[in-house]
C-alpha cells in the first residue's frame, strides 16, 4: 500500500540531493576540521560553505551562525546561556504558554534556579497580545523568548512587532523558528531578533543537527564547554556530514520557498474545506490566516486522537495528535488547553502537516477516508451526543 506521510511538522524525509552531499564526508573527507593536514583542511572549507548557506537562508552574517546538535539544544543554549550570562542585570524572563517543550521545560528548570518566568497567555487562535507583552516587561527582564510559528496549531506570532517592543527596552529577544524555516520567510535583520533557533530535520535535512543564530555582540554563556570549535562557543568535534547536509537543505528550502509554500497552502485549504464541509462537529484549531502553509489541526468531538491516528495508519496515512494517549502521558496538549479547549475536546485532536511532495490525490484520499473513520469511531463512543 502506498503510504501518505502527513506529519512533516514532526520530521521530514531527507531529500535525496541532501543525502548525496553528505555521503563523501563519512569515508572520504572524514578528517577532523581542526587539523593542519590535507584531510582536515577541505572539511573546514565545506563547513564554512554550509554556514554561509544557513546565513543566507535567514539573512544573517555567517559569523553569527553556530551549529548545534538539535533545535532543542539551540533553544536550551539561547535561554540558559542568556540567563546565566546576564543574571546580574535581572532574573526575569518572558515567554508564552504555547512554546515547544524545549523552551517551556528550560524555563521551568530556570525557575528552580531562582529565575522568574512570565508565561504570556494566548487567545483562541494561539496569538499572544502585544499589550500583555508590554505589561509584562519589568526592569529586571533580561530575555523575551516567543516562538515564530507553533508546531501544533501552526499559528504565526507577530515576531517583528514583538522585536520592536523588546528592542526599544533594550531586552534580548530569542525566537524558536524551527517550524518557520522553509515555510515562511525568516529574516533576522527585518525581525529584530537577537537569537533564533532552527533545526535541519524539519526542512528535509537530517536529524541531530541544528543551529543558533546569535547576533554579534549579544552576551551569552556556552552550554557545551570544551574544544575551540564554533569559534569557542560550542564544543564537540563538528558533525561535518550533517552540517554540510543542513547547508544544502537550507539552500534548497530558500530557493523553493515561495513555490513550496504556495503548493502547501493550496492543499492545506483543500483539506480544511473537505473536512469542514463533510464532517459535523469538527473545529479547526489555530488561526485561519496567520498559519503555516502546511499545517492543519482539527478537533473532532467525542473521539480520541490515537484512535484516529491508528485508523489512518491502517489505511496508509501518517498523522499526529496532541492527545494524551500518543505520548503515554495523561495530559492533553498544553497548546490546545492554552487556546481554551476543554480537556475532553483536546483529546480528539488530529494534526496533518503537508509537505512539498504531498499531492491533491493524497488529500482527497485522506478526506474520503476520514469521513468514514470519524463516523465509525463516533458510533463506538459512549459520549456521542446523539
Amino acid at each position: 500500500m502506498k503510504r501518505i506521510y502527513l506529519d512533516h511538522a514532526a520530521t521530514t524525509p531527507v531529500d535525496p540531493a541532501v543525502v548525496e552531499t553528505m555521503l563523501p564526508f563519512f569515508t572520504e573527507y572524514f578528517g577532523n576540521p581542526s587539523s593542519v593536514y590535507t584531510e582536515g583542511r577541505g572539511v573546514k572549507k565545506s563547513i564554512e560553505a554550509a554556514r554561509l548557506q544557513i546565513a543566507k537562508a535567514i539573512n544573517a552574517d555567517p559569523r553569527e551562525i553556530y551549529f548545534t546538535g538539535s533545535g532543542s539544544e539551540s533553544d536550551n543554549w539561547a535561554i540558559k546561556g542568556i540567563a546565566m550570562k546576564n543574571q546580574a542585570k535581572g532574573k526575569h524572563i518572558i515567554t508564552s504558554t504555547i512554546e515547544h517543550h524545549a523552551v517551556l521545560h528550560t524555563c521551568e528548570y530556570l525557575e528552580k534556579q531562582g529565575f522568574e518566568i512570565t508565561y504570556l497567555p494566548v487567545d483562541e487562535y494561539g496569538l499572544i497580545s502585544l499589550d500583555d507583552l508590554r505589561n509584562a516587561i519589568r526592569k529586571d527582564t533580561i530575555l523575551v523568548t516567543i516562538m515564530f510559528a507553533n508546531n501544533e496549531i501552526g499559528t504565526i506570532e507577530p515576531i517583528k512587532e514583538i522585536g520592536e517592543i523588546v528592542k526599544e527596552k533594550g531586552i534580548i529577544f530569542h525566537t524558536d523558528a524551527v517550524q518557520a524555516l522553509g515555510n515562511i520567510p525568516v529574516d533576522v535583520k527585518d525581525l529584530n531578533v537577537d537569537l533564533l533557533s532552527i533545526s535541519a530535520h524539519k526542512i528535509y535535512g537530517p536529524k541531530g543537527i541544528g543551529a543558533l543564530f546569535i547576533r554579534k555582540g549579544v552576551p551569552i554563556d556556552n552550554l557545551i564547554h570544551g574544544g575551540a570549535q564554533e569559534r569557542k562557543k560550542r564544543a564537540g568535534t563538528e558533525n561535518t556530514a550533517e552540517i554540510v547536509a543542513f547547508g544544502k537543505a537550507a539552500e534548497m528550502a530558500t530557493e523553493h520557498l515561495e513555490e513550496n509554500a504556495a503548493h502547501m497552502k493550496e492543499l492545506r485549504d483543500l483539506l480544511i474545506k473537505g473536512v469542514m464541509d463533510n464532517i459535523p462537529q469538527v473545529r479547526l484549531n489555530g488561526h485561519p490566516e496567520k498559519r503555516l502553509p502546511g499545517n492543519v489541526n482539527f478537533c473532532f468531538d467525542y473521539i480520541e486522537g490515537e484512535s484516529i491516528l491508528l485508523s489512518l495508519d491502517i489505511i496508509g496515512v501518517a498523522g499526529s495528535s496532541g492527545s494524551a494517549c500518543t505520548s503515554g502521558s495523561l495530559d492533553p496538549s498544553h497548546v490546545l488547553l492554552a487556546i481554551g479547549l476543554p480537556a475532553g475536546v483536546a483529546h480528539g485532536s488530529l494534526r496533518l502537516t503537508i509537505g512539498k511532495h504531498t499531492t491533491e490525490e493524497d488529500i482527497n484520499y485522506v478526506v474520503d477516508n476520514l469521513i468514514q473513520i470519524i463516523e465509525r469511531l463516533r458510533k463506538m463512543s459512549p459520549i456521542n451526543a446523539d
Binding site: 467525542y302 473521539i303 480520541e304 486522537g305 490515537e306 484512535s307 491508528l310 491502517i314 492527545s323 494524551a324 494517549c325 500518543t326 503515554g328 502521558s329 495523561l330 492533553p332 476543554p342 480537556a343 475532553g344 475536546v345 483529546h347 458510533k379 463506538m380 463512543s381 459512549p382 459520549i383
Partner: protein, 126 residues
Amino acid sequence: MEYTDVVMENFTCPKHVGEIEGANGIGQVGSPACGDIMKIFLKINDDGIIEDASFKTFGCGAAVASSSMATDMIIGKSIEEAGKFKNSDVVDALGGLPAEKIHCSVLAAEAIQAAIEDYHNKKAQQ
C-alpha cells in the same frame, strides 16, 4: 508505540461494539478530561451467567482493543468467575501491551466490575 497483531485486530474489527438491548448491568469508568471513558453493557440471565456483553469506548487503540477482548472473554462466564476477572487477563489475551498502555486494560477490568456491581445493586432494589 508497539501494538501486537492481536491488539490491532481487536482495534480494527472490534467485537461487541454498541449497546445491547435489555442490558441489566451497565458500568462506566473514566472521564473525557482524562481522555478515556469505557462503558460496558452486560446481559446476565437468571442463572447468573453473562449471556451477552458489549462496550462503548472513548479512548486510544489499546482501550478499544481491551474493551473488545474483555467483553469477548466474559461472555458465557458466571458473574462469580467474571468478578475475578483481572486486567492482566486482558493483557495476556492481547499478547501484551506497551507499559504506558497497561492502564487502558485496567479500565476494562474496572468497567466490568462496575457493570457487575450495577447488576447487583439493581437486583437488590428489586
